[in-house]
Amino acid sequence: MAERIITAVPLPEFAEIVRCYQSMVFSIALHFLEDRFAAEELAQDVFLQLHASLPKLKSEYHVKFWLRKVTAHRCIDYRRSRTISHVSLDEAPEPSIAGGLTDIFLEKKVRQFVATLAEKPRMVVILRYQEDMSAEDIAEALTMPVATVKSHLQRSLAMLREKMTRTIGEVAI
Protein backbone atom coordinates (compact mmCIF):
# COMPACT_ATOMS: atom_id res chain seq x y z
CA MET A 1 0.00 0.00 0.00
CA ALA A 2 1.33 3.42 -0.86
CA GLU A 3 2.48 5.27 2.24
CA ARG A 4 0.81 8.63 2.52
CA ILE A 5 1.52 10.95 5.40
CA ILE A 6 -1.63 11.72 7.35
CA THR A 7 -1.83 15.17 8.84
CA ALA A 8 -4.89 17.18 9.75
CA VAL A 9 -7.61 15.65 7.59
CA PRO A 10 -10.48 17.75 6.27
CA LEU A 11 -13.97 16.28 6.67
CA PRO A 12 -14.43 15.21 3.01
CA GLU A 13 -11.19 13.22 3.14
CA PHE A 14 -12.15 11.72 6.49
CA ALA A 15 -15.47 10.65 4.95
CA GLU A 16 -13.46 8.86 2.27
CA ILE A 17 -11.47 7.03 4.97
CA VAL A 18 -14.75 6.00 6.63
CA ARG A 19 -16.14 4.66 3.34
CA CYS A 20 -12.89 2.77 2.70
CA TYR A 21 -12.78 0.96 6.06
CA GLN A 22 -16.44 0.85 7.14
CA SER A 23 -16.98 -2.77 6.03
CA MET A 24 -13.83 -3.94 7.79
CA VAL A 25 -14.66 -2.28 11.11
CA PHE A 26 -18.35 -3.14 10.97
CA SER A 27 -17.68 -6.81 10.08
CA ILE A 28 -15.19 -7.35 12.91
CA ALA A 29 -17.79 -5.97 15.32
CA LEU A 30 -20.64 -7.90 13.71
CA HIS A 31 -18.87 -11.25 13.75
CA PHE A 32 -17.84 -10.70 17.34
CA LEU A 33 -21.06 -9.26 18.79
CA GLU A 34 -23.58 -11.03 16.49
CA ASP A 35 -25.75 -7.94 16.69
CA ARG A 36 -26.01 -5.61 13.69
CA PHE A 37 -27.26 -2.62 15.71
CA ALA A 38 -24.57 -2.93 18.39
CA ALA A 39 -21.93 -3.55 15.71
CA GLU A 40 -22.92 -0.41 13.82
CA GLU A 41 -22.93 1.67 17.00
CA LEU A 42 -19.53 0.36 17.99
CA ALA A 43 -18.14 0.96 14.48
CA GLN A 44 -19.36 4.57 14.62
CA ASP A 45 -17.61 5.04 17.98
CA VAL A 46 -14.40 3.62 16.51
CA PHE A 47 -14.49 6.12 13.62
CA LEU A 48 -15.19 9.00 16.03
CA GLN A 49 -12.14 7.95 18.02
CA LEU A 50 -10.16 7.70 14.77
CA HIS A 51 -11.09 11.27 13.87
CA ALA A 52 -9.64 12.46 17.16
CA SER A 53 -6.52 10.29 16.84
CA LEU A 54 -5.82 10.79 13.14
CA PRO A 55 -3.18 13.53 13.52
CA LYS A 56 -1.09 11.08 15.56
CA LEU A 57 -1.16 8.35 12.88
CA LYS A 58 1.67 8.38 10.37
CA SER A 59 0.25 6.66 7.31
CA GLU A 60 -2.67 4.76 5.78
CA TYR A 61 -1.06 1.52 6.92
CA HIS A 62 -1.10 2.78 10.49
CA VAL A 63 -4.74 3.83 10.11
CA LYS A 64 -5.74 0.31 9.03
CA PHE A 65 -3.76 -1.34 11.82
CA TRP A 66 -5.10 1.19 14.35
CA LEU A 67 -8.70 0.50 13.25
CA ARG A 68 -8.32 -3.28 13.59
CA LYS A 69 -6.66 -2.96 16.98
CA VAL A 70 -9.11 -0.45 18.44
CA THR A 71 -12.14 -2.30 17.04
CA ALA A 72 -10.91 -5.59 18.53
CA HIS A 73 -10.30 -4.08 21.96
CA ARG A 74 -13.58 -2.17 21.92
CA CYS A 75 -15.49 -5.35 21.01
CA ILE A 76 -13.92 -7.26 23.91
CA ASP A 77 -14.55 -4.37 26.33
CA TYR A 78 -18.12 -4.01 25.06
CA ARG A 79 -18.82 -7.69 25.60
CA ARG A 80 -17.30 -7.62 29.09
CA SER A 81 -19.00 -4.44 30.27
CA ARG A 82 -22.54 -4.98 28.99
CA THR A 83 -25.17 -7.60 29.19
CA ILE A 84 -26.15 -7.99 25.60
CA SER A 85 -29.53 -9.31 24.66
CA HIS A 86 -28.46 -12.09 22.39
CA VAL A 87 -30.29 -12.61 19.17
CA SER A 88 -30.36 -16.28 18.48
CA LEU A 89 -28.56 -17.19 15.31
CA ASP A 90 -31.60 -19.24 14.35
CA GLU A 91 -33.75 -16.11 14.49
CA ALA A 92 -31.23 -13.80 12.85
CA PRO A 93 -31.82 -13.11 9.17
CA GLU A 94 -29.27 -14.74 6.94
CA PRO A 95 -27.33 -12.54 4.58
CA SER A 96 -28.00 -13.24 0.95
CA ILE A 97 -25.18 -15.26 -0.54
CA ALA A 98 -24.58 -16.81 -3.87
CA GLY A 99 -24.07 -20.32 -2.49
CA GLY A 100 -26.52 -23.16 -2.21
CA LEU A 101 -28.50 -24.38 0.78
CA THR A 102 -25.56 -26.47 2.01
CA ASP A 103 -23.38 -23.38 2.22
CA ILE A 104 -26.05 -21.45 4.15
CA PHE A 105 -26.45 -24.32 6.56
CA LEU A 106 -22.71 -24.70 7.06
CA GLU A 107 -22.20 -20.97 7.55
CA LYS A 108 -24.91 -20.89 10.17
CA LYS A 109 -23.20 -23.71 12.00
CA VAL A 110 -19.82 -22.01 11.76
CA ARG A 111 -21.30 -18.74 13.09
CA GLN A 112 -22.80 -20.63 16.00
CA PHE A 113 -19.46 -22.25 16.63
CA VAL A 114 -17.54 -18.93 16.54
CA ALA A 115 -20.11 -17.46 18.95
CA THR A 116 -19.33 -20.19 21.46
CA LEU A 117 -15.62 -19.27 21.63
CA ALA A 118 -14.27 -17.19 24.50
CA GLU A 119 -13.63 -13.50 23.80
CA LYS A 120 -9.95 -13.55 22.89
CA PRO A 121 -9.94 -16.80 20.84
CA ARG A 122 -13.04 -15.50 19.02
CA MET A 123 -11.30 -12.25 18.12
CA VAL A 124 -8.19 -14.19 17.05
CA VAL A 125 -10.30 -16.33 14.69
CA ILE A 126 -12.11 -13.28 13.29
CA LEU A 127 -8.89 -11.36 12.63
CA ARG A 128 -7.26 -14.45 11.08
CA TYR A 129 -10.09 -15.45 8.74
CA GLN A 130 -11.91 -12.18 8.08
CA GLU A 131 -8.84 -9.95 7.82
CA ASP A 132 -6.33 -12.63 6.78
CA MET A 133 -3.90 -11.28 9.37
CA SER A 134 -0.75 -13.18 10.29
CA ALA A 135 -0.29 -14.57 13.81
CA GLU A 136 2.35 -11.90 14.43
CA ASP A 137 0.03 -9.05 13.42
CA ILE A 138 -2.80 -10.46 15.52
CA ALA A 139 -0.44 -10.78 18.48
CA GLU A 140 0.55 -7.13 18.10
CA ALA A 141 -3.04 -5.95 17.69
CA LEU A 142 -4.33 -7.88 20.69
CA THR A 143 -1.19 -7.38 22.80
CA MET A 144 -0.55 -11.07 23.38
CA PRO A 145 2.30 -13.48 22.60
CA VAL A 146 2.45 -15.02 19.12
CA ALA A 147 2.47 -18.50 20.68
CA THR A 148 -0.85 -17.74 22.39
CA VAL A 149 -2.36 -16.62 19.08
CA LYS A 150 -1.22 -19.84 17.37
CA SER A 151 -2.51 -21.89 20.27
CA HIS A 152 -5.93 -20.18 20.08
CA LEU A 153 -6.09 -20.83 16.34
CA GLN A 154 -5.14 -24.50 16.62
CA ARG A 155 -7.57 -25.17 19.45
CA SER A 156 -10.37 -23.27 17.71
CA LEU A 157 -9.92 -25.26 14.50
CA ALA A 158 -9.82 -28.52 16.42
CA MET A 159 -13.04 -27.59 18.21
CA LEU A 160 -14.66 -26.58 14.95
CA ARG A 161 -13.71 -29.88 13.36
CA GLU A 162 -15.06 -31.81 16.29
CA LYS A 163 -18.37 -29.94 16.38
CA MET A 164 -18.90 -30.11 12.65
CA THR A 165 -18.07 -33.81 12.59
CA ARG A 166 -20.50 -34.44 15.40
CA THR A 167 -23.22 -32.35 13.75
CA ILE A 168 -23.07 -33.16 10.08
CA GLY A 169 -20.24 -35.59 9.58
CA GLU A 170 -16.73 -35.09 8.44
CA VAL A 171 -17.52 -35.68 4.78
CA ALA A 172 -19.83 -32.71 4.56
CA ILE A 173 -17.16 -30.17 5.60
Binding site: V18, F26, Q44, L48, Q130, L160
Partner: protein, 135 residues
Protein backbone atom coordinates in the same frame (compact mmCIF):
# COMPACT_ATOMS: atom_id res chain seq x y z
CA UNK B 1 -1.87 -33.02 0.14
CA UNK B 2 -3.14 -35.79 2.48
CA UNK B 3 -6.69 -36.10 3.80
CA UNK B 4 -5.92 -34.22 6.99
CA UNK B 5 -4.41 -31.35 5.05
CA UNK B 6 -7.41 -31.20 2.73
CA UNK B 7 -9.82 -31.12 5.66
CA UNK B 8 -7.83 -28.36 7.31
CA UNK B 9 -7.89 -26.35 4.08
CA UNK B 10 -11.65 -26.88 3.75
CA UNK B 11 -12.21 -25.75 7.35
CA UNK B 12 -10.17 -22.64 6.80
CA UNK B 13 -12.00 -21.86 3.55
CA UNK B 14 -15.31 -22.32 5.33
CA UNK B 15 -14.23 -19.91 8.07
CA UNK B 16 -13.09 -17.35 5.48
CA UNK B 17 -16.40 -17.66 3.63
CA UNK B 18 -18.44 -17.32 6.82
CA UNK B 19 -16.40 -14.47 8.24
CA UNK B 20 -16.22 -12.43 5.02
CA UNK B 21 -16.65 -8.68 5.26
CA UNK B 22 -20.17 -7.29 5.11
CA UNK B 23 -21.33 -3.78 4.45
CA UNK B 24 -23.08 -1.80 7.18
CA UNK B 25 -26.52 -0.41 6.43
CA UNK B 26 -26.69 2.35 3.82
CA UNK B 27 -25.85 5.85 5.03
CA UNK B 28 -23.36 4.59 7.59
CA UNK B 29 -20.62 7.02 6.51
CA UNK B 30 -23.11 9.95 6.58
CA UNK B 31 -24.14 9.02 10.12
CA UNK B 32 -20.51 8.88 11.20
CA UNK B 33 -19.79 12.25 9.60
CA UNK B 34 -22.85 13.75 11.31
CA UNK B 35 -21.53 12.56 14.67
CA UNK B 36 -18.04 13.85 13.85
CA UNK B 37 -19.44 17.30 12.97
CA UNK B 38 -21.60 17.24 16.09
CA UNK B 39 -18.69 16.36 18.37
CA UNK B 40 -16.43 18.92 16.66
CA UNK B 41 -19.07 21.60 17.29
CA UNK B 42 -19.53 20.50 20.90
CA UNK B 43 -15.82 20.61 21.60
CA UNK B 44 -15.63 24.32 20.67
CA UNK B 45 -16.15 26.78 23.56
CA UNK B 46 -19.62 28.21 24.02
CA UNK B 47 -18.74 31.49 22.40
CA UNK B 48 -22.09 33.19 22.96
CA UNK B 49 -21.76 33.14 26.74
CA UNK B 50 -18.16 34.32 26.95
CA UNK B 51 -18.16 37.72 28.64
CA UNK B 52 -15.25 39.03 26.61
CA UNK B 53 -16.76 38.12 23.27
CA UNK B 54 -18.27 41.62 22.62
CA UNK B 55 -14.76 43.06 22.84
CA UNK B 56 -13.64 40.96 19.93
CA UNK B 57 -16.27 41.96 17.36
CA UNK B 58 -14.95 42.77 13.88
CA UNK B 59 -15.54 46.56 14.14
CA UNK B 60 -13.83 46.82 17.51
CA UNK B 61 -11.06 44.52 16.39
CA UNK B 62 -10.30 46.70 13.35
CA UNK B 63 -10.60 49.86 15.47
CA UNK B 64 -8.06 48.44 17.89
CA UNK B 65 -5.73 47.61 15.01
CA UNK B 66 -6.10 51.18 13.65
CA UNK B 67 -5.48 52.73 17.09
CA UNK B 68 -2.37 50.66 17.65
CA UNK B 69 -1.08 51.52 14.15
CA UNK B 70 -1.75 55.25 14.71
CA UNK B 71 0.01 55.25 18.06
CA UNK B 72 3.02 53.50 16.51
CA UNK B 73 3.19 56.13 13.72
CA UNK B 74 2.82 59.06 16.18
CA UNK B 75 5.50 57.62 18.46
CA UNK B 76 7.87 57.16 15.52
CA UNK B 77 7.35 60.74 14.30
CA UNK B 78 7.78 62.11 17.81
CA UNK B 79 10.97 60.13 18.32
CA UNK B 80 12.41 61.35 15.03
CA UNK B 81 11.57 64.99 15.94
CA UNK B 82 13.29 64.58 19.28
CA UNK B 83 16.34 63.13 17.57
CA UNK B 84 16.45 66.03 15.08
CA UNK B 85 16.12 68.64 17.87
CA UNK B 86 18.84 66.92 19.85
CA UNK B 87 21.13 66.96 16.80
CA UNK B 88 20.41 70.67 16.23
CA UNK B 89 21.18 71.38 19.89
CA UNK B 90 24.47 69.49 19.64
CA UNK B 91 25.43 71.47 16.53
CA UNK B 92 24.57 74.79 18.24
CA UNK B 93 26.62 73.79 21.26
CA UNK B 94 29.59 72.93 19.03
CA UNK B 95 29.28 76.32 17.27
CA UNK B 96 29.12 78.14 20.62
CA UNK B 97 32.16 76.28 21.91
CA UNK B 98 34.04 77.18 18.73
CA UNK B 99 33.01 80.80 19.02
CA UNK B 100 34.08 80.93 22.68
CA UNK B 101 37.37 79.29 21.76
CA UNK B 102 37.99 81.88 19.04
CA UNK B 103 36.97 84.72 21.32
CA UNK B 104 39.29 83.40 24.03
CA UNK B 105 42.18 83.22 21.59
CA UNK B 106 41.56 86.75 20.36
CA UNK B 107 41.33 88.04 23.91
CA UNK B 108 44.60 86.34 24.77
CA UNK B 109 46.23 87.93 21.73
CA UNK B 110 44.91 91.39 22.66
CA UNK B 111 46.13 90.95 26.21
CA UNK B 112 49.60 90.00 24.98
CA UNK B 113 49.67 93.06 22.74
CA UNK B 114 48.65 95.34 25.60
CA UNK B 115 51.32 93.81 27.80
CA UNK B 116 53.94 94.33 25.10
CA UNK B 117 52.86 97.95 24.67
CA UNK B 118 53.02 98.57 28.42
CA UNK B 119 56.48 97.04 28.69
CA UNK B 120 57.71 99.15 25.78
CA UNK B 121 56.32 102.33 27.33
CA UNK B 122 57.84 101.50 30.69
CA UNK B 123 61.19 100.85 29.06
CA UNK B 124 61.08 104.17 27.28
CA UNK B 125 60.31 106.08 30.51
CA UNK B 126 63.03 104.41 32.65
CA UNK B 127 66.02 105.09 30.26
CA UNK B 128 67.19 108.91 30.09
CA UNK B 129 67.61 110.55 26.69
CA UNK B 130 71.30 111.05 25.66
CA UNK B 131 70.72 114.70 24.64
CA UNK B 132 69.38 115.66 28.12
CA UNK B 133 72.37 114.09 30.01
CA UNK B 134 74.84 115.87 27.87
CA UNK B 135 73.26 119.26 28.62
Amino acid sequence: MNAHGENLQREEDLLRQTLRQEDPSSGFAQRVMARVSESAGASEPARAVLWYRPFFGPVIRWSAVAAVSASVIVSTVHYRNMQRERAQGEAAKQQLMLALHIAGSKLQLAKEKVNDANQAQHHTKSSPSPSRSKS
